[in-house]
Each structure stands twice: as structure tokens, then as C-alpha cells.
């Protein structure tokens, strides 16, 4: 009754004002909405459509689900899928744990020290993947690389290891480089999240005799959970979309041991001009990422209670 009467009390002038406000809001939103529709939603739709076509430089004919059938019979796609999942499964937890550990250590430091370490860990992110990759290529070089030099000096190896040229080590090297470029943003976010944890709760828990571990898991962890969820999702997506490192370092080799779905999409679309097949793989990759992200949301929500 109260609601009804308050609705009745809205004057035409107020309605006009609200409409104007709504219109203004939509106008402000329009540029980014148009950008989002044009550069995200429309390409995604196009990708879905072309995945049902034999779309090459010379052909555009409807073939239904043939691209998808071929994909699941393609041994290289299978290898790329396994490698991609290995990268995600290894790099996401390691990135999160390492970032949380570093952030826990540096957020209590003086402002200057905290900023210094944040800057150090963030440098690989702003440096650019090409420059970072060139440095790592030099580190891993089979003939004059620093890593081989160090390992031999320390007596860990007797002869040089071809880190990027040996299928046994190549994927591990890629994951290592990926970690160095992935931890910067999570560290900055965790430092910020940990600094924002309600200090009065920590003090109250300490007064009540809680240990450091208990304080972390019972007080800090729940409060930084939204940040953790964001980091998990972003790191997962970045790991699934690992491309530049592969292209610049190994081209998917040796013998497809570092092949990833993203690189295989690129190879099919741009090197073989099989746009339809590449699109089909893109759709599957999007579905896998969506499933992983949904799983993470679900688990994080449960943890959050």
C-alpha cells in the first residue's frame, strides 16, 4: 500500500527527469557498448557462424559440423589441448600461490619497499612480451645461454641442455616464462587486497589468542576471496590464450611438444588459410574457458560460504 501510494506520488516532472537521466546514462554507455558489440559480440557471432563453413581463401561453403568432427580426430589438436591444459593446471595455482606469498611478505613493509617490489614484479608485464621473450631466448640458448653456463658452473649438468629444442624441457620452459609475466598483476592486486583487510578484526582475533595461520585463514582469506577469484579467472584465461611466447620461441615445436590451441588456431587460420576450421577451434576454446571460469566461480562461492 505504501509502495503504491509512493508510486502514485511521482509527478510527471519527476518522470521526465528520470527519463532524461536514463537517456543520459545510455548515451554515456553507448560508445563502450557499441565498441563491445562491434569488437566482441559481433566477431564472436561471426566465429560461430564461420565454424560451420569450409571457409578458405577460395571457398565458403556450408559443411555443418564437419569442422568439429575433424577437430576431434585431429591428433595435433589433441596434443595442443593437452599441452594447453597442462599450462593452465600448472601455471594458475603456482601464479596465485606465489603472488599471495610475495604479497603477504611485502604488504607490511614500508611504503617505499612495497612500491619497489611491486615495481620489480610488474616490470615483465609492462616490458612487452617480445622483449621479455628475446631475453629468455638468450637465457635458454643452447650454445651461449646463461642457464647452461650457471648449471655447468654449479656442477648440475655435464653438457649443455637444449632447453627449447628438447621436447622434454620445452613446455616447462614456456610455463616458467609465462609465470614471470603473469605474477605482476596478481601481486599488485593481492597487496592492495591485503592492505584493505579490516585491521580491527585481526587485532580482535589476536587478542582472542588466534595464531598467525588462523588469522590468515579465518580473517584475511575470506576478505581477499573476491580478489583471488578475479586473479584465478584472469590467469586462467591468459594461460589458455598463451600465444606470443609459443610463436616467438618454439612455433609449437619441437614436434608439437609446445603446441597450444591458440597457436594451432593461428596456424590454421593464417598459415593454411583455413578460417572455418580455426573458428571451430576458437569456439571450443571459448567453451572450455567458460567452463573453467564457471567452475572457479562455483568453488570460490562455496568457499566463501
Amino acid at each position: 500500500m505504501t509502495v503504491l501510494s509512493s508510486r502514485r506520488m511521482i509527478s510527471p516532472a519527476m518522470k521526465r527527469a528520470r527519463r532524461r537521466e536514463n537517456i543520459s546514462a545510455y548515451i554515456f554507455m553507448a560508445p563502450s557498448l557499441l565498441f563491445f558489440l562491434g569488437f566482441v559480440i559481433f566477431p564472436m557471432g561471426m566465429c560461430l557462424v564461420t565454424s560451420f563453413f569450409n571457409y578458405t581463401m577460395t571457398d565458403f561453403s556450408f559443411i555443418g559440423l564437419k569442422n568439429y568432427v575433424e577437430m576431434f580426430q585431429d591428433a595435433i589438436f589433441g596434443k595442443a589441448l593437452v599441452n594447453t591444459i597442462v599450462i593452465v593446471v600448472v601455471s594458475v595455482p603456482v601464479t596465485c600461490l606465489f603472488s599471495l606469498w610475495v604479497a603477504s611478505l611485502i604488504y607490511k613493509m614500508r611504503n617505499f619497499s612495497t612500491s619497489f617490489f611491486r615495481c620489480v614484479f610488474y616490470l615483465p608485464v609492462v616490458t612487452g612480451s617480445v622483449a621479455v621473450t628475446v631475453v629468455w631466448k638468450w637465457i635458454f640458448n643452447n650454445y651461449y645461454g646463461v642457464l647452461n653456463y650457471l648449471c655447468r658452473s654449479l656442477g648440475l649438468i655435464s653438457r649443455n641442455i637444449n632447453w627449447l629444442g628438447n621436447a622434454q624441457y620445452a613446455l616447462a620452459c614456456i610455463i616458467t616464462i609465462l609465470l614471470t609475466t603473469s605474477v605482476g598483476q596478481p601481486i599488485v592486486l593481492y597487496v592492495s587486497a591485503l592492505s584493505n583487510v579490516d585491521h580491527s578484526l585481526i587485532e580482535a582475533a589476536s587478542v582472542d589468542g588466534a595464531t598467525n595461520t588462523q588469522v590468515f585463514w579465518k580473517i584475511k582469506w575470506p576478505q581477499i576471496m573476491p580478489t583471488t577469484l578475479y586473479i584465478l579467472v584472469i590467469t586462467t584465461i591468459n594461460s589458455f590464450q598463451c600465444f606470443a611466447l609459443i610463436q616467438l620461441l618454439t612455433s609449437g615445436g619441437p614436434n608439437n611438444s609446445t603446441q597450444t590451441i591458440m597457436y594451432y588456431i593461428y596456424y590454421n587460420a593464417f598459415k593454411l588459410s583455413r578460417y572455418g576450421y580455426g573458428s571451430a577451434m576458437g569456439i571450443i576454446l571459448a567453451v572450455i574457458i567458460a567452463l573453467f571460469s564457471a567452475l572457479q566461480f562455483k568453488l570460490a562461492k562455496t568457499d566463501n560460504g
Binding site: G165, T250, G253, P254
Partner: protein, 421 residues
């Protein structure tokens, strides 16, 4: 005030239209880094010379590189934003974009110069057209890809006896002996068979096919023939050399890395070299490196070298005025009596017109002329074989599997099956 501002804005919008309202035709040229054709200063100079004769044609240039250039062209083809002219070789102009119907038939450009080009090399004329005789490329320059040795290392190892210093050739037996001598003298690693992909594959292909005089494709360029007895023997030989430590194989490096290893004296033999590489790497040579270009070793001592032919093709953009302007530009660059030699000189390679003769005599690049010694060994231009792009990846994978210890016959069978799809 508002009206004045609006008028000014309208005039500014109309300016570009007014600027090209005269007879000026604007064309775009995309060029891969073929010698100094990837250098803006050089190309600007060529365009300046062109505009002195044809001020009515404005040429805009975009420079491509071999790592991302193909992607840019593929994107442009799908977005219908291709340039008017593109400079590259038959494997792209004829076998790839031409075969896909994206290029224009430029047979008319050949009318007056065909005999001159054939006189330079019949292989050039054959490579620039498709199976139906339609020309998609108008050639400017050519070369033969060779290999290179560090003369000083060979001298110290006593391995000069295994090469023909006059002809710059050697036999397979001589090559094997030279590797033994280098190893014994401590020049390890002697050489690296790079197999990390991304270009330079001509060196590894020539190494394999020459060792026992095999052929990479059949004569019709319809099938890849790595499964021939000669090629399998060569691959087994290389696999054995790598297993014995006489030679290195590395899936972690690409041709550019291998050249760097040669230039900094880490290795004594390089498999990816040519006249242009000699110029571009001159400044990065270590003190103890003395460059000595060599043909690939072959069982009979008569190599069959992989050719490089570069020229111009036209994308079909449906604008006749631009097509005419583009053809005028190409004719000027390739055939103008005052310009043609300069255009070839910029590439660092050799003219595809016999009439131009030795363009390097008495110039700063006189040493480039030395590489002309390899031109008689120019072999079959098989890069126009269908499925070329996929075959290249299969080739790297084949080498990687073989040097990882794979069974040669089985791996070659996999390669042939995938490449001949």
C-alpha cells in the same frame, strides 16, 4: 561565428577530395625485406626517381617482414584491403595468392622482355606463371641460396683440401671428411641443422637433396618426393652425423639464429646464406670469421641449388586506373634503362634480364658479383608445388622427429602423407 566555424570544417573535410581532384593516382606497394627493398631510405629513393618521370602517380609503401608479413596479407585479402602491388616470389605470388584467384594476370608486361628474361634463366620464366601459362609475377632479381664456411677454421683444421676453392663446390665425401677434420681440430660444434621453423628452410632442403642428388618434388611439381631412395639415404646420413656428434641439429633455433652462430664464430659452417646475407651480416662478423660461400655438397660434385626469384605482382582491386599506374611503376622499376640496374642493386641479388649484365662491377657491392659463380647451378624452382605452406611445417616436423632419433623411413612416410594431402 558558428557559421564561419562550420564552413571551415566543411572545407577541411573537402580538402582531401580537392587534393586528388586532379589526375593524380595513388597506389600502394607492400614489399618484403628483399635486400634493401625493406629499407625505407632506399625505396624512397627509387620512388623519387619514379616521380621525376611520373609525377602523376603517388606510391605509398608498407614494409613487411617474413615473420608477420603473410599474416598481414592474409588479413588484407579477407578484409579486401590488399595493396595494388606486392613484391615477393613465385611461391606466394603464383602458388598461393595467384592460385587462389587474388592476383591479376600481368602477361602483358612480359611482351617485350620475355626473351631477355629467358636468356638470363629459363627457370625464372617458368616459375612466374601458373600451369595455364598465366603470369602472376614480373621478376626483378634472382639468386641462388648457398651455404658458407669459415675459411680460417677450415684452414686451421686442414680441411681446405676437401673443397674446390675455385668453383666453391665440394662433394659429399669431401663434406664428410671436412666435418671429421673440423671435429678433430676442436671446431665443435661444426654446424647446426636448424629446424625451429619460421623460414630459411631452403638451406636444409638443399642440404638433404644435394647429398645424394635427390629431388624435392617430381618434375611436374605435383608431388613431394622425400621418400625417394636418395633422399632417405641423405636423411639417414645426417641423422648418423648428428648421433655421432659430427654435426648438431637444433629444433630450438631458426635460420636467423644459425646465421648469428656462424657470424659470432660459434660454428664453422652455415647452411643459410646468399649474396644479400653476406652484405647484411658484414658488420656482425667476428674477427676470426672469413666468409667463404660454398655450394651444397653433392655426391657428383655438381650441386643443384635452390633459387630465389623476386618480383612484383598485382592484386585484383577492380580499379583500372590504379592497375595501369601500378603497371607503369613496375615497368619503370624493372625495365627503365636508367633505373633497372639500380632496382636490382638495391636487392643485393642478380638481374633477371640478361641484357643488364654484371651490375656490381666497380660498385660498393663488388663482392656480390662473386656469388654469380653459383648461378649456373640454379636448380628446379619447385616452391610452386601445391600445399606448400603446410609442407613447410611438415618439413620442420620431419627434421625434428628424425634428429630426435625417429625411424627415417617411417617419419618420411608420415611427412609425404601429410605434405601430399
Amino acid at each position: 561565428m558558428k557559421k564561419l566555424l562550420a564552413l571551415l570544417l566543411c572545407l577541411m573535410l573537402a580538402l582531401p577530395v580537392l587534393a586528388f581532384a586532379d589526375d593524380t593516382v595513388e597506389i600502394t606497394l607492400w614489399t618484403y625485406p628483399i635486400g634493401s627493398w625493406g629499407n625505407a631510405e632506399t625505396v624512397d629513393g627509387i620512388i623519387k626517381d619514379f616521380n621525376a618521370v611520373h609525377p602523376e602517380i603517388k606510391v605509398t609503401v608498407q614494409y613487411l617482414d617474413y615473420s608477420s608479413g603473410d599474416d598481414q596479407v592474409t588479413t588484407a585479402i579477407e578484409a579486401k584491403t590488399t595493396p595494388d602491388i606486392i613484391m615477393e616470389g613465385p611461391e606466394r605470388l603464383v602458388a598461393n595468392w595467384g592460385a587462389a584467384g587474388k592476383m591479376l594476370d600481368i602477361s602483358d608486361l612480359w611482351a617485350e622482355t620475355k626473351d631477355d628474361i629467358i636468356a638470363a634463366s629459363p627457370a625464372v620464366e617458368a616459375a612466374c606463371k601458373n600451369g595455364e601459362g598465366i603470369y602472376y609475377e614480373y621478376p626483378l632479381c634472382m639468386t641462388t641460396h648457398c651455404m658458407v664456411i669459415n675459411y680460417n677454421d677450415f684452414e686451421k683444421a686442414g680441411a681446405l683440401q676437401y673443397i674446390d676453392e675455385e668453383k666453391h663446390t665440394w662433394t659429399t665425401e669431401g663434406f664428410l671428411n671436412a666435418l671429421d677434420a673440423l671435429n678433430a681440430a676442436g671446431f665443435v660444434p661444426t654446424a647446426v641443422v636448424y629446424c625451429g621453423g619460421q623460414g630459411g628452410d631452403q638451406g636444409t632442403r638443399a642440404l638433404v637433396t644435394n647429398l645424394y642428388s635427390g629431388q624435392f618434388t617430381n618434375a611436374d611439381h605435383t608431388k613431394y618426393t622425400m621418400d625417394s631412395e636418395a633422399n632417405i639415404k641423405a636423411l639417414k646420413q645426417l641423422q648418423e652425423l648428428v648421433a655421432n656428434g659430427k654435426l648438431d641439429a637444433d629444433p630450438g633455433i631458426v635460420a636467423g639464429d644459425e646465421i648469428a652462430l656462424f657470424c659470432n664464430s660459434t660454428i664453422s659452417i652455415g647452411f643459410c646464406w646468399n649474396a644479400s646475407a653476406a652484405v647484411s651480416n658484414k658488420a656482425s662478423l667476428a674477427e676470426d670469421v672469413k666468409v667463404f660461400p660454398m655450394a651444397f655438397p653433392s655426391d657428383d660434385g655438381v650441386p643443384e641449388l635452390q633459387g630465389g626469384i623476386w618480383g612484383f605482382g598485382l592484386f585484383d582491386n577492380g580499379n583500372e586506373a590504379k592497375v595501369a599506374a601500378a603497371k607503369t611503376f613496375i615497368k619503370f622499376v624493372c625495365d627503365d634503362p636508367a633505373q633497372a640496374a639500380k632496382s636490382v642493386y638495391a636487392s643485393g641479388f642478380f638481374p633477371t634480364r640478361a641484357s643488364l649484365g654484371d651490375i656490381y662491377a666497380g660498385t660498393d657491392k663488388a663482392e656480390n658479383g662473386e656469388y654469380a659463380i653459383f648461378m649456373p647451378y640454379l636448380g628446379d624452382y619447385y616452391q610452386v608445388t601445391p600445399n606448400w605452406a603446410a609442407q613447410r611445417t611438415e618439413w620442420w616436423n620431419l627434421l625434428q622427429r628424425i634428429f630426435a632419433g625417429g625411424d627415417v623411413e617411417a617419419e618420411v612416410a608420415v611427412y609425404c602423407q601429410n605434405a601430399n594431402k
